[in-house]
């Protein structure tokens, strides 16, 4: 296993994925949606809204950013990694290169993660900055809020990405399945009693926010959870890695036959 060779291949696949996800028409849609939180905070500041503070910022960003923007961006990008290349018949060009299928999945996943975070993180950080500046506070006053959102964005992107990648390797039409899981299941699951919410990503994201952010300004103060932030983060990381490995394994066994004819 020569390290320089595989590092070079990793870099090439990651760069190829990044370039595809960030420079084609798909990027316009995802970037626009990722900017919505920033536009919202700017319009609030411009409208001189009295009650606009970090509390309202969180009340807005949790349902909008975590449950709509994050899911939409991760879904549209994760399904493009393998399934779209299969549909576009461009996969044979990669598969006839001296690079193993699992490695291809791993490198593409890294490219996805970088692309998604590049799209998601800057707007949310600036939005936070605008909120603090509007309140006349220093950028560092509520670092726990910023930290909480950065952690959930990174872990959310990783886990949702791994989940949608795994689905896209299993199912011929992953976007439809992803929509149902992302928009329907993840938003309904919290209102179900008992341990059912544990089978959703959003539960662990909210747990992290609940523990990380100071109780005084925490809209999720009373969020029903019996796990600590650390454990939640651990769960998300292990689930992400497990799903990527599963996706790689399924991809390894997959056969690519050309349409009959």
């Amino acid at each position: 296993m020569d390290w320089t060779g595989s590092f070079r291949k990793a870099w090439v696949v990651t760069a190829l994925t990044l370039r595809y996800l960030l420079t084609t028409r798909r990027a316009i849609a995802t970037v626009l949606l990722a900017l919505v939180p920033l536009i919202l905070t700017l319009s609030l500041a411009a409208a001189r809204v009295a009650t606009f503070d970090v509390m309202l910022f969180q009340q807005l960003m949790i349902p909008l950013f975590l449950q709509v923007v994050l899911i939409f961006v991760t879904l549209v990008n994760a399904t493009a990694l393998i399934r779209e290349e299969i549909d576009d018949n461009t996969l044979p060009f990669l598969l006839t290169r001296p690079i193993s299928k699992p490695a291809l999945v791993a490198y593409k996943y890294i490219g996805y993660l970088v692309a998604v975070l590049v799209v998601l993180i800057p707007p949310i950080v600036v939005a936070y900055g605008v909120t603090e500046a509007y309140g006349g506070l220093a950028f560092t006053t509520d670092l726990d809020v910023l930290g909480g959102f950065l952690a959930t964005t990174i872990l959310g992107s990783a886990t949702y990405g791994a989940l949608f990648l795994f689905i896209s390797v299993l199912v011929r039409r992953p976007l439809a399945v992803g929509l149902l899981i992302g928009f329907v299941w993840e938003s309904v699951v919290d209102s179900i009693p008992g341990d059912v919410p544990k089978v959703s990503v959003i539960h662990y994201l909210k747990t992290i926010l609940k523990d990380v952010i100071a109780i005084a300004i925490n809209p999720l103060g009373q969020y029903r959870t019996d796990v600590s932030a650390g454990v939640a983060a651990g769960v998300l990381v292990t689930v992400s890695i497990a799903l990527v490995i599963l996706a790689a394994f399924v991809f390894q066994q997959m056969e690519f036959r050309q349409k009959a004819g």
């Binding site: 919505v36 909008l64 449950q67 709509v68 939409f72 399904t79 549909d87 976007l175 928009f183």
Partner: protein
């Protein structure tokens, strides 16, 4: 034994006009949609769910909302049933997203264009396929609820009020149907992958509705509701039925809805005109 062409007589009958050609696309399109299991399931569940919830609202209204005058304004309730928003998005996503995207993906669009019809005919036909399906969610439940109300409570709701409610429901329902049809076709014409158009429909509807409603209540500035098409629809519906408004005046909301509908249709037309299926 294959009949060779020369003995197979030339067709001398005159061709029908563009109206019949467009109707052919509509009729065939509707028949194809009703044969797709996904479409049937969504329509059935959508209509059933929305109608039942509306009727339940009607039955228990007097307990649930004491002091709610039982006159025309009462019918604003079924019109603002949350399930209408959910199922309209689902319908537009599952049926609408593929209407043009599939033709671009299979390049059948070239076949349509090589026939004696114009881009406008093609788009009109696609719109007339989607609109009735969407209005089965936005109009039908309201009409059924009004009939049930008049039937079950003849004393409370006179037939006059019921008929008026039906008329208004049809108008308001069509407005919402046209809006979603136009936006769904616009998203469908943008890409070959109908999955993205469907995701856009969901992202758009919910992405605007959630923040607008939270924000407006949180900071007490209702003007933000204009940003959410669903809230615009609610403003128009409540005004039509004479119910108390939701904080934004309905002329503005109506203008936004109609404006976006027309704009989306125009951009879709220009986009289809510019689609160059270059095969080199």
């Amino acid at each position: 034994m294959s009949i060779s062409l020369p003995t197979y007589s030339r067709l001398e009958i005159p061709l029908l006009g563009r109206r019949e050609r467009v109707w052919a696309i509509i009729a065939t399109g509707l028949r194809r949609e009703f044969r797709r299991p996904a479409a049937i399931v969504v329509i059935a569940i959508g209509v059933a769910f929305t109608t039942i919830t509306s009727i339940v609202l009607v039955l228990f209204a007097s307990f649930l909302l004491p002091g709610q005058p039982l006159n025309l304004s009462f019918f604003a309730l079924p019109a603002s049933n949350g399930f209408v928003l959910f199922f309209v998005s689902l319908m537009a996503a599952i049926i609408g997203s593929g209407l043009i995207a599939d033709d671009l993906h299979s390049m059948a669009f070239t076949l349509y264009l090589s026939r004696p019809i114009t881009h406008l005919d093609y788009l009109l036909a696609k719109a007339v396929i989607l609109a009735p399906l969407v209005s089965m969610i936005t109009v039908l439940p309201l009409v059924i609820t009004a009939l049930v109300a008049a039937f079950l409570f003849p004393l409370v709701f006179s037939w006059g009020v019921a008929l008026q409610a039906i008329g208004l429901s049809v108008a308001v329902g069509l407005l919402l149907a046209l809006f979603n049809t136009s936006v769904a076709l616009f998203l469908s014409s943008l890409t070959r992958r109908k999955g993205l158009a469907a995701a856009g429909m969901f992202g758009g509807n919910f992405g605007l509705f959630i923040p607008a409603s939270i924000l407006a209540s949180a900071i007490g500035n209702p003007n933000l509701l204009y940003l959410s098409p669903w809230n615009d629809y609610l403003a128009v519906a409540s005004a039509a039925f004479g119910a108390p408004g939701i904080g934004i005046d309905w002329p503005g909301a109506l203008a936004i809805l109609l404006g976006v509908t027309v704009l989306a249709a125009l951009v879709t037309y220009l986009r289809m005109k510019s689609v160059e299926v270059i095969t080199g």
